[in-house]
Each structure stands twice: as C-alpha cells, then as structure tokens.
Assembly symmetry: C2
Homo-oligomer: 328 residues x 2
C-alpha cells in the first residue's frame, strides 16, 4: 500500500502551517432530525474554500523537497483543485500552470491567477484538458499534480481525518462526499490507522453507481469515462481513480449513500439555515445523507462525522432561488 | 459600576456548559482588502444562532439561583432575544413566556415554542409589548428579562470578549454592531478588565447617531424612543439603554462607524463568499466596517476583532436576490 497512516502523519507535519485546523460544529436540531449525534468538519472554511488545499499542499511541497530545482507544477481544473494547486505553489514559491476550459467564469479564473498561477485555456473536453496539461509538462518540465490519483494528494486529504479523530475521539462513522476518491481514500487510510472501529461511508450523486463496483471489488463503470449530470460540479467524475479504487475496496463500507440533486439542495439549505455554513452542493449531499438518510445505517452507530468538503458556491445562483422548490 | 470583569468571569463559569465556545476565523483576502489583520468571532454559530444566548443564560440562571421557587421568566421579543430566553429557560427548567407582536412569522414563533416557551401575542406597538409583558409579570410573578438594560444580561454578553481575548491575545481593537448596547457594554467591560489597551468601537446603522451622544456624554436622541428604518432588524432600536449608555460613555471610543443598508448587504455577502458564514445584516454591518471602513481608523491599530453577532436570516429573502445591486 502506497499510502499508510505514516504518510498521513508526515503530510500533517509538512502542511499544517499552511492550512487551517478547521473547527468541528454541531447542531442539536440536526441531531434530533437524524436521531444520532452529528459532527460537521468544516472544510468549507479551509484555505481556498475547500479541503483540496491539503492534498495540493502535500503534493506540491513534496515536489519541491524531492526536486530542489523543480520547474514547478501543472494541473487541469477550473474548480477547487486548480485553486488549491495555485495556492500551494505560491506557498512553496514554485511556478504553476493551471489548464482550464475556454468559457470558465472569470471569477474562477481570477481566483487562480490571484495566487500567481499561469492560466492556460484549452477546449472544453476531457481529452483536450489532458493533452494540454501533458504538453505543458513536457515542454516546461513541470510536474503534473493529479486531483485524486496521486498518493501524495491522498495523504494530504487524509489529514482531515487525523484532525477529526483528534477533535472527536469516539466517532463511529464518517460520511464523505465522493468523486475521484482522493479524499475518501485518504480519510479511510487515516481512519484505519487511528480508529479502525470507525466506519467510512461514501456519499455519491445519483448516477455514479459506486456500490456495485465496491461490492464486486471490480470496476463496473462503462467506458469511456464520463461525467455525471448533477448540479454538484465538484463531484461530477463518475469513475474513481485507478489508484484510489483499490484503497476504497479495502477500507470503506460497500454500502454507499446515493443522493439526488434535489436532496443535495435540501442539504445545502439545512447547512445554511442550521449550521450557518455556506457549502457547495457536494457538501449538501453529505448533510442530506446524515440528516435524512440514517434509516439506512445500523442503529448502533451513534456518533457520525460529516465532511463539509467545500464552500465555493455562486451566491447569485443559490438553487432554491432559481428552482421551484419547497424546502421550508 | 454594576458590571465588572468579576461579573463577566462569574457569568462564564455559570453558562459555559450551555453555550458554544465559538471559533475565531480569518481570511487572507479580507485582510488584504482591509489592510489589517481581521479576526472574526463567529457568534452566528452560537446556540440559537446569535450571541443573545449568553446574556439570556446568565440572567435566567441567576434568576433561578436567587429564587429557587421562581415562577419563571418573561420577555418581549420576536427575534434573537426571545429565542435565547426560551432556550435559557429550557436549560434551567424554568417556565417562560415570550410576548411577540401579532403577525410575527410562523418560523420565528416555532423557534420560540420549540424550546417549550409560552407564546403571547400583543399589538404591534412598543407600548403594547411592554404593557403585555408587565401584565404577565404581575399576574404570574415571572421575572422580566430585558434584552439589554439588565446587568446580568450585559455580563453574559461580556463572555464573548473573555473568550475572544483568550483566543487572540493581542487584539488592538474590536468592532461591535450596536443596538440597545448590551453586547457592546459587556464586551467593553470585559476588555477593560482583560486587555485595557484594546479599543472597542461600535458599528451602527445610519440614523442611530450614537457618536453625538457619546461625544457629549449625554442622551441626545429625540423622544419618544423610535425604531430606525433599516433592514437589520436586530439593531433597529435607536436609543441605547439607561443602564448601558453610561458604561458606553466610559469605556468605548466616541468614534462610531456608521453603515447604510446597502453597505450591510455588501458585508453580508462578503461574509458568505469569503468567510463561508451565513450572517444577518447586523453582522454584515461589522464586516463592512472592518473591510471597507478602515481608512477611518488609526493606522497603528493592526489586529482588529469583528463580532459576527448572529446568523438568523431568511434564505428566501437574501437581499441581493431581491434588490437590484451590483455586489460582485
């Protein structure tokens, strides 16, 4: 196994001065609705507004440690990972290129260039992103920082769990919104090392169908890889990574919580009303599963951790304002 | 002086198990905009969604200590203080009546009755509220808990500052949204006792005109008392209290930061975008003053504390959705 609790511990030592130790918050109202004790880890308050800063810092700082003459780093992402790598590179005084598709909103571009990164536009297709990223890497010698299929990134995300188990030492389970699986595998590895009796559950958008692959311990997804049609743009990747999937098979529960867009929106709204936390739809998925989905979980599980993974949301486009919903 | 640091310390011992020690959060982006270091005390995450839980707990618990046969407590407020007194009475197992004007939204009524309090409707005038409250007090023997003109309430609010100075030990100044002055006087008393070199500034809605009264150390407001026309319903009271005003004259800066409704809205939005914190307009006033108003403050003041006093806001009525604004 290329990521163990040792790598997570080393990651924490490496990055802790550059990230926030995010608070854990609670709500008696949500506890009553869930019929359990819920503990929310507020990674929406993390540097750059999402947990991605942890993995990016660990991977980028390791690149600098291992290659003192490094030409820098490159990645492709218009979202939280792009900002996070730009932030990490700035912290490490490394050059950074971020490939984004044409048409990316200016506010996202500004967030990336605000950290001093070089923005490179590509065509809005997965292939063009990859090709452009590879071209920059080969021309400049910059190291590619993959958003999830990278053990150093996973180890960095695992520090969410090492902090969380320190803050709440007796969790029975943790609910993690999943996309490529970098955060979930990091949390699963750290949890196995620090509190093996604590179960890790993934929360997915409808259409990911992760449970079937976990149950069979085999990649059952259709190819070529595709995006899921969901409002949660941070978790649109259908397939988990080649490196993350085996870790998930070993360490997380095969039961997966599946959440629709309307349910995520309800989760976002519960978070804003009850926790006073601005979160993006992926976090809303975990909140919904924790508050409304507990009938699917063993009643012996009393203390449930919930990852509020990010808070980067367009306040002009809050979904209940723009949809006809009845979440009162 | 009827409130000193001793009463604040005693209040903290009395209430700390029933309130949250709220986190302090920071944002490099807001620091850069302000040109100072800003530390945000997240009382929007407090029990009942606002700092009012502190003062209410202290006053209600003291009522129970001093009158073991107490008939309970009564107050008039449809807002944060009403919820807070209901919560405190539930914690103390005391009876509670809350007087609210006819037409109060159901969601606010539900929040009060959810804590087991008895809801009493009155006419929507200040006089009717007072009269109804006094009538209940005389008929039932319940003790009136005034929202700000009560030394026990002030001492409870002062615990915001004792926590804050413990969390950030070298603040140069604190910005406090002001209405009746209970929170501001409590914070001022605690700050004078714990860190006398730290200055306390009030942030007011336009129309309060507090600075004139502070400069003259005399109540310059027109009578009868009136409400200010502002979207910040938590800070509509124009006049500070008879008990709070002398403390304010002694302990806070006579310079007052004045904020318009549009500026509060910008502050709310900055809080949600940059701090990921849902706050109400009164908190938005303090955020605006901290981020945009620092040209009015001595440049030697580097570390500024900002009180996010509450987060109870109607998510269907976020002001930038319902107004033609250009806060991007």
């Amino acid at each position: 196994m290329a990521v163990t609790i040792s790598e997570v511990r080393a990651a924490y030592i490496r990055i802790h001065k550059w990230i926030h130790k995010t608070p854990v918050i609670t709500s008696q109202t949500l506890d009553a609705m869930a019929g359990r004790e819920l503990y929310f880890k507020t990674e929406n308050l993390q540097k750059t507004g999402a947990f991605k800063a942890r993995g990016a810092c660990n991977a980028v700082f390791m690149e600098k440690e291992q290659n003192p003459q490094s030409a820098g780093v490159v990645t492709h992402s218009s979202g939280n990972h792009g900002q996070a790598v730009a932030y990490a590179a700035k912290c490490a005084s490394l050059k950074c290129s971020v490939v984004v598709p044409k048409g990316t909103p200016k506010v996202k571009c500004d967030a990336i260039t605000g950290y001093g990164a070089n923005l490179v536009f590509c065509e809005p297709s997965p292939q063009s992103r990859k090709d452009t990223c590879a071209k920059i890497a080969s021309e400049t010698g910059q190291a590619i920082i993959h958003p999830f299929d990278n053990y150093n990134v996973m180890a960095g995300q695992g520090t969410i769990a090492s902090e969380f188990h320190d803050q709440v030492p007796d969790l029975d389970a943790i609910l993690v919104p999943i996309s490529g699986g970098g955060m979930t595998s990091g949390i699963a590895v750290a949890t196995r090392g620090l509190r093996p009796q604590c179960k890790v559950y993934a929360v997915e958008p409808l259409g990911k169908d992760l449970q079937r692959s976990l149950e069979q311990k085999c990649r059952m997804w259709p190819n070529p890889p595709q995006f899921i049609d969901t409002i949660a743009d941070a978790i649109r990747t259908q397939q988990c990574g080649d490196l993350t999937f085996p870790i998930l098979c070993d360490y997380i529960e095969s039961k997966v919580f599946t959440v629709t867009d309307d349910q995520m929106i309800e989760g976002m709204r519960l978070s804003m009303e009850r926790l006073k936390m601005v979160v993006e739809a992926a976090s809303g998925a975990a909140v919904y599963a924790a508050v409304r989905g507990m009938s699917e979980m063993d009643p012996s599980i009393r203390k449930v951790g919930v990852i509020l993974c990010g808070g980067n949301v367009d306040l002009d486009m809050l979904p209940w304002v723009n949809r006809s919903t009845s979440y009162q």
